[in-house]
Symmetry: C2
Amino acid sequence: MENLNLGILGSGQLGWMMIQEARKLPVKFGVMDSGERGPAVSTSDFYMKQTDYRKFVDSCDFVTYEFENVGIDGLKYADDEQKLRPGLLPVKLKKDRSLEKEYMASNGFPTAPFTVAETTSEARRACRDFGKSVIKYASGGYDGKGQIYVRTDEDIDRVEIDGKCIVEEMIEFECELSVIASRDSRGKILMHTPSFNYNQSGILIYNYAPFPNSRAMEITSALLKKMEYIGVMGVEFFLRGNEVLVNEFAPRVHNTGHHTLSGSTISQFEQHVRTVLDMPLTGPRLLKPSAMVNIIGRKLDRDLLETILKTEDSKVYWYGKDDARKKRKMGHVNLLADTVDDLKEKVEKTIQMLYPDGVSSYL
Amino acid sequence: MENLNLGILGSGQLGWMMIQEARKLPVKFGVMDSGERGPAVSTSDFYMKQTDYRKFVDSCDFVTYEFENVGIDGLKYADDEQKLRPGLLPVKLKKDRSLEKEYMASNGFPTAPFTVAETTSEARRACRDFGKSVIKYASGGYDGKGQIYVRTDEDIDRVEIDGKCIVEEMIEFECELSVIASRDSRGKILMHTPSFNYNQSGILIYNYAPFPNSRAMEITSALLKKMEYIGVMGVEFFLRGNEVLVNEFAPRVHNTGHHTLSGSTISQFEQHVRTVLDMPLTGPRLLKPSAMVNIIGRKLDRDLLETILKTEDSKVYWYGKDDARKKRKMGHVNLLADTVDDLKEKVEKTIQMLYPDGVSSYL
């Protein structure tokens, strides 16, 4: 058969893993970025810069993205050509998080109480109303960048914003969890078992599945349906008692789904590619308790690599980035175990190997 | 850390899968072939032709092969430089199968009775001694090519050979099985669960695991040790009652190990790369009954691809070759199931999808 051409906007590790995982299929992969040439470029079949977006889109049967903040021209043109999956709406909601929040609220998806503030005085007023709160700029920033935590009156007096923000009540919650799910063009929805996620300073440190939560799965399913979404989505939740609140969604494969590379019948990456190319898929099923630990802000040396690989059923994914800046995701470790308790122990040990002085100095 | 450079001699699908599976590690992959540019070339980091073997070997930390019949100059030079894994001995034994047979016999590994014939009259005499026999040329030919089956006196009278052959007694056996195993430079041996293999006209059609056989595992272990082998080896056996006989070994990743891409904690491909690069590994464990069906001598069309992908937990590996000649391995399908019976049913259905008029017309 003729190869299908799939275009990926963005060249980061998510695209890199997408290509690795779907290389088995009769598909050619194109990558487009604004010129930074991330890891996905070297494993692609063709590469173009954002300025060539028309040629790129014309070369592809379908176009998807692995990063929300990609050039709007390519997105719009791909959408005009009816090739963009999962479409423009999710990008719009992510480019302005106030729209995301309002979309959730207006469609009845449970979130923490929030308000949108355009000025410092509006922001301070909202902080006073909520007591403890988190301020997030509506655009720019991810992985906890650009978030302000407001706990005291002094904190409120120090608040200064210079652009549209969401002020969110800092709710008490037991933990965070997420669901990785896909919806195809016929409306069929398939979900991975939810995972427990541990974040620090807004960055995912590790996660593991299974962490069953039927309410989170129902909400994810309703969200995919409401958006008429095509592809894989990651939805993050706060767990509070019996209740879950949507934290945010990611219109793409997601860091909390990397463990599916080892422990599931199909990874989120192959799932996404098969879904956006209208290829059937089944499952996904979790074969073993499965975890991921991020490698953040540090390099690997041979000794450390060997130590990690000695752990039973461990896999190292190294994204091949040169510069190990703080907060930068350089790779991850996948782990399997027969029980969740064994798995947690492996996670703990792996974190000690990677961050002997604690993870905070790498964030 | 600095990337390690692994050189692969041969550019076929075995190298292609090796690179796909080990791309996650901090390793760069070089491919060298005699100019035919198989599937592995497009996924490699660097490529050279056989004539540049010195430059190629000098660029690599270690060199391995994915095909026995590769240029001897590169092999010898890599061996001189102490970079060749699994070494020269296995290649010598495979380049002249009479040496392989004699190696097995002289080291006490059980095989079918055989004799080496240099002339037609020697071959006919051996055939008469054995009754039914199989004649295989000592060099050249694989996947059943160049084999002569001799059952009757008329068959014997028709025997004509023009080079060294092995004449082997055509033994009665229940089935074929194989073991995929690795040995590292410290002597640690790790094995996948044996698989049941179904061959037709000397070509593997499908196989599945588990098909436990401790005797086959013992023999494989002894063979790896005897050869001081480093890397993954596939060993094929005939099962006859309680006894197993070595059919042949392959000094590389092996077609009967492709199912490990889906159903095991680690695939034979990553296992091989980690072993030859002195990276630790654990397991391997089979997570679910796991099967593979070869796609031979035919192309895929969109309908067939979709039909196969609709089978629960199926994966399609398409090697991207253009010319679907008879007997040519074009790709394979991996299948998982909860029980061996369910798995066999899926295998049967997949074979019907691929070969509606029977597999023999594709061989």
